[in-house]
């Protein structure tokens, strides 16, 4: 496999931002085709990869296309031709790609997409929230969330293993927060090129367009007679991916010492109040929980590491004995509850557990969320527990200027 490219000597600890960490994971995975289009804040992933290519560390093709839609289209064509394919994007780029996201998953192409989370216009804004992650939430892509550059590096390597597994064959998104992760250089402990490639393994072709002994037709048309069964099989593969994800995380822990879980928890075991959140907010919430624990308050934090497929049963198990759960959604909900709120309440509804569950909308367009704000959110939930009821409404917009915004009144 090293036939036409140089191996790179890496330090035990490198200082990489999230984008550069992605670029090294893509390089080490020996991606065959990267088709990509620049957009802030994910551009650095592709620029980093292009620099590895320009210096002889990549022997695959880079196709710099004219739009994100074309980027994913090219990845699908390449994947159908037996190539390991990957790309990166954010925000509007993901929005333009949406049609092809559904085509990629429906055609069962195990493409990896490095999604650097950024809000969706309008208003136009390059900063981060989870609007793009949420936009892809029903697209049939496995969606995994990283909080740090190192996590993104690790999870991009894992994503190839997961998506390409013969029981799965689905595309995988690896999320990280725009700027907060993508542009903040932090310690990353990379694997050696050899260890990383040995972990990811050779790409296993399925029905390649370039296998002329066995001509295949990709991307058929169906009517009502077969469409339903296609989607059922696709969804079944998604549901069954959980086992593969756990196996891959287990194996990765053995070679890296870093263990990922379907759902990450921090101080949750005996917690009365738990914040559910994703991305860098999970890190800030952990610091906040430490501070409040020192004050004797029983608080914890939970993050779905695997956002899709949704871990309904595990969520229910982990939250069964809590007194309050605060679901923090970093995306404008468009006149409904946030997705994490829906996931959590959906998980709990068919159990006997009845914690107070509230929904915080926060951090839109890169608005900062800090320890002070999270302390406030924890304390409000603790008060609600003491009062035995929510403080008037289910959904509250945190950190927005102007009059307080609260929705969905609760009685009693």
């Amino acid at each position: 496999m090293y036939r036409n490219k140089k191996s790179m000597e890496l330090n035990t600890v490198e200082v990489w931002d999230g984008n550069f960490a992605n670029s090294h994971a893509l390089r080490q995975a020996g991606v065959d085709v990267v088709a990509a289009y620049p957009i802030t804040p994910s551009t650095g992933t592709v620029e980093g990869y292009a620099s590895h290519h320009a210096n002889g560390y990549v022997d695959g093709e880079i196709v710099m296309v004219e739009s994100e839609h074309a980027a994913m289209s090219g990845c699908i064509g390449a994947a159908a031709a037996g190539a390991r394919a990957a790309t990166a994007t954010s925000s509007q780029g993901l929005a333009l790609m949406v049609e092809t996201l559904y085509q990629a998953s429906g055609m069962r192409m195990p493409i990896v997409l490095c999604l650097v989370n950024r809000t969706l216009a309008a208003p136009l804004n390059v900063n981060g929230d989870h609007s793009d992650m949420y936009l892809a939430n029903q697209s049939g892509w496995i969606s995994i969330d990283a909080c740090t550059p190192e996590e993104s590096y690790d999870l991009v390597l894992c994503a190839f293993r997961i998506g390409e597994h013969l029981d799965v064959r689905l595309p995988v998104i690896v999320n990280q927060d725009g700027f907060l992760t993508s542009h903040k250089a932090q310690n990353v402990r990379p694997l050696s090129d050899k260890d990383a490639y040995d972990f990811v393994g050779d790409y296993v072709e399925v029905n390649s367009l370039l296998n002329f002994d066995k001509p295949v037709t990709h991307g058929v048309q169906t009517e009502s007679d077969w469409h339903y069964e296609h989607k059922a099989k696709q969804n079944d593969a998604m549901m069954n991916s959980v086992k593969v994800i756990e196996e891959v995380f287990e194996e990765y822990a053995k070679i890296s010492g870093r263990k990922y879980n379907l759902i990450e928890t921090y101080l949750c075991d005996d917690a009365e109040v738990v914040i559910v959140c994703m991305g860098t907010t999970y890190e800030t919430a952990k610091v906040t929980a430490d501070k409040l624990r020192a004050e004797g308050k029983k608080v914890g934090v939970l993050m779905p590491r695997v956002f899709r497929p949704t871990q309904i049963d595990l969520l229910a198990e982990l939250l069964a004995d809590k007194k309050a759960v605060v679901c923090m959604d970093r995306s404008a909900p468009g006149g409904q509850m946030g997705l994490l709120y829906n996931d959590v309440t959906g998980a709990l509804f068919n159990t006997s557990a009845r914690p107070l569950v509230s929904n915080i909308i926060y951090g839109l367009g890169g608005r900062d969320i800090n320890v002070a704000a999270l302390t406030d959110i924890f304390n409000t939930a603790l008060e609600e527990v003491a009062n035995g009821k929510l403080n008037g409404t289910i959904q509250r917009w945190s950190g927005v200027r102007g009059p307080e915004l609260k929705y969905y009144n609760v009685k009693g």
Partner: protein, 327 residues
């Protein structure tokens, strides 16, 4: 006919001496499809596939060809074939072409085996309109592929809406002729010039009635290095509204009236006219055999026919001057 990745004898263009040798050549596009009786798409596609012995990776944009040839669990393609969407048929094939380069460089495909041909098909809707940007991108990047536009001047698959290939005066379902309208108001977009302006090594217009000219051009296209654009006139019995046994006759009138002149442009500059009709048919006669132009023969619309004839004359003059000037 097919060739494994492992290795096989070099192949290349097929020798086709006459119609008989053409009609007996191998079928990679099988008869099992549900295109309309009299549809020219299948004739053109067969000729493209039959022009070479090489392995082929084919793609189709969403459209008549795609929905009529790959209805699960059936397929008409005895060849590698991919469809993704309406606008990205070109990029799907470009992605496969990029994969081929990468896999050969890495040794996963033996670089000594013959290169396959990469061909994307699209209707005029996916070529002139919704897929225009994708095609432009593929040509600018120089993928080694052929793009064949099956140009029937209408969104036929969705029931006859106008595209930017629909000629002025045609009645389409979204630009219908009526008491206060003569139908489509815009002139057909000049895709040939646009694609030639990309600096493509080879750009050609073909028609199914001139099969020798067609095979020659397809083979020239396969021999070219880089992106090749073929604009294939595809007479549509359903939307042009002519009898299903008249496809070749209507096509003859299209090429002989010079509404669809047959020519090629090499390296974006050298223009060659490849067919000069002995008897030029009046545009009026070409329009007269198609229901989509029926209303033009009303007295108040007849000026449009005269204008059309003038446009065709001017274009023919232009093509001849371009040919002569060699620039």
């Amino acid at each position: 006919m097919s060739c494994s990745i492992g290795g096989c004898i070099p192949q290349g263009n097929k020798e086709i001496k006459n119609l008989k040798s053409f009609s007996t050549s191998a079928e990679r596009f099988e008869g099992a499809h549900v295109l309309c009786p009299g549809c020219a798409h299948s004739i053109i596609v067969r000729e493209v596939l039959n022009a070479t012995n090489d392995n082929m990776v084919l793609g189709s944009s969403t459209g008549c060809l795609e929905v009529c040839t790959a209805i699960y669990p059936h397929t008409s393609w005895d060849s590698s074939w991919i469809h993704i969407g309406f606008e990205n048929g070109s990029t799907a094939v470009a992605g496969a072409e990029s994969a081929n380069k990468a896999l050969r460089r890495k040794g996963r495909i033996d670089p000594n085996t013959p290169e396959p041909k990469f061909v994307a098909f699209g209707g005029d809707g996916s070529t002139y309109d919704i897929g225009f940007q994708w095609i432009s991108g593929c040509f600018e990047r120089g993928h080694n592929m052929m793009y064949v536009c099956l140009d029937n001047e209408v969104y036929a698959n969705t029931g006859g809406q106008r595209s930017s290939s629909t000629p002025i005066g045609a009645s389409a379902t979204t630009t219908p002729a009526g008491s206060t309208s003569y139908g489509e108001k815009q002139n057909k977009k000049d895709m040939m010039s646009i694609m030639a302006a990309h600096g493509a090594p080879y750009v050609a217009q073909i028609a199914p009635n001139k099969w020798k000219d067609m095979v020659k051009k397809i083979q020239k296209g396969f021999d070219a290095n880089g992106p090749v654009y073929i604009n294939a006139m595809s007479a549509c019995t359903t939307e042009w509204k002519f009898p299903i046994n008249q496809t070749i006759e209507v096509s003859d009138m299209a090429t002989d009236s010079l509404v669809f002149p047959l020519y090629e442009i090499i390296e974006g500059k050298e223009l060659n006219i490849t067919y000069r009709p002995k008897n030029i048919v009046p545009v009026r006669d070409y329009l007269g055999v198609q229901g989509r132009f029926k209303h033009l023969f009303k007295k108040e619309n007849e000026y449009l026919i005269d204008e059309w004839q003038k446009r065709v004359d001017a274009n023919w003059e232009y093509l001849q001057r371009r040919e002569e000037a060699r620039v």
